[in-house]
């Protein structure tokens, strides 16, 4: 489904601040795979997602979604097949626009935007229905500005927007990191539900080892721009945090350098 072939991403190339975020990185996802991506600070997790989404171009290598080479496509064109949720709850929605307007924008992802109405009455019913599944009471606040919502509500809405038009690939970039633990659990539960219902191929970056272990059918751990652990199937099911930490030490020869991951 997703084929990443030997991509390299270097920031500030040729300067003293040169930083190799991804080096000759390869990864292949099957249809319906739900991969959790974990790693220390600066391991290249977010860079990876941003390269797949087209926020950054890559220095080397290629990225294929299905059979289609998207390496040179700009971000907005890749959005036709990619749904995204960001770490910052403010980034995934337009604060000064209504809930229904945000959903209507997402509903038209991959379509040519013309001079038809930005939102129709028929759609409103559909959105109402979807929103009621979130169980946050948003279905009665269709025209409220998104800026009025809490971080968790906005993140749930972004999740709905990312999946409203079924994407071929769903990218979740530490999408619960900015939320309090209770809210984070709820958003994660919703993510699981959406992924399952749509059988979506998903990459979820997280700093939380427990989340990485509990969710998805495959786990990759990154270190210095490379995959150092790739755990799937039954082996993934039996994984524990202690076990994962030990294997990280063996694979990288270092202690796991992410306090947040250990504390949560």
């Amino acid at each position: 489904m997703l084929t990443i072939k030997g991509i390299t991403k270097i920031f500030n190339e040729g300067t003293v601040n040169e930083n190799i975020a991804l080096s000759n990185f390869s990864l292949t996802l099957e249809e319906g795979d739900f991969v959790t991506v974990i790693g220390g600070n600066g391991a290249g997790k977010s860079t990876l997602l941003n390269c797949v989404a087209g926020v950054y171009g890559v220095n080397q290598g290629s990225i294929l979604i299905g059979e289609k080479d998207v390496t040179k496509l700009p971000e907005y064109k890749r959005a036709d097949v990619i749904g995204r949720v960001f770490q910052d709850p403010m980034k995934g929605t337009a604060a000064d626009m209504g809930i229904e307007e945000n959903l209507a924008l997402a509903y038209r992802r991959g379509k040519i935007r013309g001079l038809g109405w930005g939102i129709s009455n028929k759609e409103r019913q559909i959105y109402k229905n979807y929103l009621s599944h979130l169980d946050l009471g948003l279905e009665d606040r269709l025209s409220d500005k998104v800026g009025l919502l809490s971080g968790g509500q906005r993140q749930a809405l972004t999740l709905l927007m990312a999946t409203l038009k079924k994407p071929r690939l769903l990218l979740l970039d530490e999408h619960t990191a900015a939320l309090d633990p209770k809210t984070a659990e709820k958003v994660l539960k919703l993510s699981d539900q959406f992924v399952k219902e749509g059988n979506l191929t998903t990459m979820m970056v997280t700093h939380n080892m427990r989340h990485a272990i509990e969710h998805g059918n495959r786990l990759i751990m990154m270190h210095e721009g490379k995959v150092i652990l790739d755990i799937k199937g039954k082996e993934k099911k039996d994984l524990t945090v202690e076990n994962l930490l030990k294997r990280f030490g063996q694979a990288s020869g270092e202690e796991f350098a992410n306090d947040r991951a250990l504390l949560s």
Binding site: P74, R84, F86, R108, G118, G152
Partner: protein, 298 residues
């Protein structure tokens, strides 16, 4: 006094078109677009030159609209394709328009005295020139507001609003933000040039200098409108813009009447805008916002 007031209202109605244009860039796209200063004079230059060469005033005004749209496109191209910061891109277009406007007119100013303008048919119906301008400007503002209200409710219009509000989100939803910014600048400067064309015809001359300070006047009108007449929804905003532009003209007419030298006008306007834009800072200084953190579910 009544005459002064009516004059201010008719002038305000024409400037309302520019105000809508400035609102599109300043509020919807979140860009301070300096192109305005050049494109208003460009509209005037195109209209005046075309009319004095015997073209129909309506056709001339339409050409002015197209000219302004082209100016907006250039700024959009400089900003989105060549990655020049928006403010500087606008300044570059503005400065180059100064020369271009001189080229269009062939001299620094052009008189339209005793020539047919878009207001002439109304004057022929027996309206005084002030009333003719007022009626024509009112109808223009009505039609333009209607089109703008409709447009920003369409898929394309919503995409422009999303771009100005959160460009990262817009791209993630498949919106070509570069094109949307350019399109916004094109529409905005088209309106500004249209305003310039109508001003030139109402005052019977076009001047290459007439754009100086117009962006500040536009901003003053936007802010006065929002503060006094509200911004609850888009329709309310549009009405506020028009009333804001008129209010600005009435204020200016009154301070001039009270004896302020005309030369101080731009200083007065700039100070007004500076104060209005800094109001949020003063407010938070005098009355810190109380934040309450609610715990719990989402």
């Amino acid at each position: 006094m009544l005459q002064i007031l009516l004059g201010a209202i008719s002038l305000g109605l024409i400037w309302a078109i520019l105000t809508i244009g400035v609102y599109i860039t300043f509020r919807i796209l979140d860009i301070a677009d300096m192109t305005v200063e050049g494109s208003i004079a460009m509209g005037a230059a195109i209209a005046a030159t075309s009319i004095s060469n015997g073209m129909s005033p309506y056709m001339a005004t339409f050409l002015a609209l197209l000219g302004g749209m082209a100016a907006g496109f250039v700024t959009g191209f400089l900003h989105t394709k060549l990655k020049i910061p928006a403010l500087l891109a606008g300044i570059l277009t503005m400065i180059s328009l100064y020369s271009i406007n001189l080229l269009i007119m062939g001299k620094a100013n052009l008189s339209l005295l005793r020539m047919n303008t878009v207001y002439t048919p109304l004057e022929n119906l027996g309206l005084s020139s002030t009333n003719a301008v007022m009626l024509f400007a009112f109808l223009s503002v009505l039609i333009i507001s209607g089109i703008i209200y409709w447009f920003f409710g369409t898929e394309l219009g919503c995409a422009i609003r999303a771009t100005g509000n959160n460009s990262q989100m817009a791209r993630a939803q498949g919106i070509n933000t570069n094109n949307m910014i350019t399109l916004g600048l094109v529409i905005s400067n088209g309106l500004v040039a249209l305003c310039g064309a109508l001003i030139a015809q109402s005052q019977s001359f076009a001047d290459v200098q007439m754009g100086i300070g117009s962006i500040v006047i536009g901003l003053a009108s936007v802010i006065i409108g929002e503060v006094i007449f509200g911004k609850r929804n888009f329709l309310n905003c549009l009405i506020s813009l028009v009333l804001g532009a008129i209010t600005y003209r009435i204020i200016i007419a009154l301070v001039l009447k009270m004896g302020m030298p005309a030369n101080d006008l731009k200083l007065f306007t700039a100070i007004t805008v500076a104060i209005a834009l800094s109001l949020p800072v003063f407010k938070s200084y005098l009355r810190p916002i109380k934040r309450s953190i609610k715990g719990g579910d989402l």
